[in-house]
């Protein structure tokens, strides 16, 4: 899979106002510029933070993306747990979940 490409899109999106405008105005065209497999493209189109987490997107990139989407903190944490419930354990990277999906680590 092309996880690198998905992460590169998040990197650009998080730091560049022009890319953020393209994200809002013409997301499919923006995504055409990145090497994404269909699963990644679909997850980004849907703003599916849980799926991107499971695919192995670096957590820091994903946290900033969730903030960009305007997700409240509790929703963002729950979206990642829900991703694991729906799709299984994190498949790559160093941001694997070490607690159980029902554990409210910080009370959220």
């Amino acid at each position: 899979m092309s996880l690198y490409g998905a992460q590169k899109l998040l990197f650009h999106l998080n730091r560049d106002a022009a890319v953020q405008r393209r994200y809002r105005d013409d997301l499919p065209a923006l995504l055409d510029g990145y090497d994404l497999d269909p699963e990644e493209r679909e997850a980004i189109l849907a703003g599916d933070v849980g799926k991107l987490y499971v695919l192995g997107a670096n957590g820091q990139l994903l946290m900033h993306f969730a903030a960009l989407l305007g997700m409240p903190w509790a929703d963002y944490i729950e979206a990642m747990r829900d991703g694991v419930r729906r799709h299984g354990p994190v498949r790559a990277g160093i941001y694997a979940m070490t607690t159980s999906a029902d554990e409210k680590v910080a009370g959220l």
Partner: protein, 272 residues
């Protein structure tokens, strides 16, 4: 003139962005410690502040990831994050390109540091500045250690980077402060966010305060990942500051605040 101030602090985005979700009886004393560190920094009358940080893909990506990078600009901007989410307004921060260039030349004698004439600050620098230099009026020299995208630089090289920074500061006429910022154990940006290994943290901070080089460098990344999470890789910033300051440290506060995702830490170290 060399170093006139050295310390370490946390930088978790929750410290500002989720302050409203924290117990004020815990949050407010920590914020007060953070501001007090800023008052001590100001009393040292620094001409510039080196922030040894561990940025989170605000500038550097896996297409060309420097193990070490320093800013070399007269101005920076931040935060890259949504200001409402972080609780810090977008602003410009003064830099000091001429000083940066001199420091970088000197550091290059020992460490192959990359330089960057543009740099966007994320929470990793903006949260510390929000408390330490709240008027954003002290020129900043950002110095980054890659703690996010493995392979990572070995701890002994982070120590050498700190030593190189100290030699560079010794050669500069300016009064320079250095602050390292990172987490001790934490599992940020995962569903485990809020998990904290307090015993591990206290042991690490004790080694830091004693400035015990051998003990600080004895952690393997495998053990750190297991015991302190991927956020624990940021101990590199604390290690670099210990190497630069050479003195004994004092932990002014350490308080686990799960909603901030980290054991919140303020430490000062004597410059010797």
């Amino acid at each position: 003139m060399s170093l006139v101030f050295a310390g370490v602090c946390s930088h978790a985005p929750g410290i500002t962005g989720r302050a409203h979700l924290a117990d004020p009886r815990v949050c407010e004393p920590f914020h007060a410690h953070f501001r007090a560190m800023g008052e001590e920094l100001e009393a040292a009358r620094p001409d510039a502040l080196i922030v040894v940080g561990a940025e989170h893909f605000a500038n550097f990506f896996m297409n060309n990831m420097p193990a070490y990078a320093m800013g070399m600009a007269d101005r920076y901007e931040g935060p890259i994050e949504d200001p409402g989410w972080l609780g810090i307004a977008k602003t410009r921060v003064p830099g000091h390109a001429a000083l940066s260039k001199r420091l970088i030349r000197c550091v290059l004698e020992d460490i192959d540091v990359a330089y960057a004439e543009e740099w966007k600050f994320d929470h990793g620098i903006m949260v510390p500045l929000h408390f330490l230099t709240p008027r954003f009026d002290v020129p900043v020299v950002p110095a980054n250690i890659n703690c996010q995208g493995p392979p990572l630089t070995p701890l002994k090289r982070a120590w050498a980077f700190g030593e190189a920074l100290r030699r560079a500061c010794d050669a500069a006429p300016e009064r320079i402060a250095i602050v390292g910022t990172g987490g001790v154990s934490h599992w940020p940006a995962t569903p485990d966010s809020g998990k904290i290994n307090e015993a591990w943290d206290r042991e690490f901070l004790d080694r830091w305060a004693r400035n015990d080089r051998a003990a600080l460098l004895s952690y393997s990344d495998e053990a750190t990942y297991r015991d302190a999470g991927q956020g624990g890789f940021e101990i590199r910033t604390f290690i670099a500051v210990a190497a630069a300051a050479r003195g004994q440290g004092t932990i002014r506060t350490y308080v686990p605040i799960p909603i901030f995702s980290v054991g919140c830490t303020i430490g000062l170290m004597a410059v010797e």
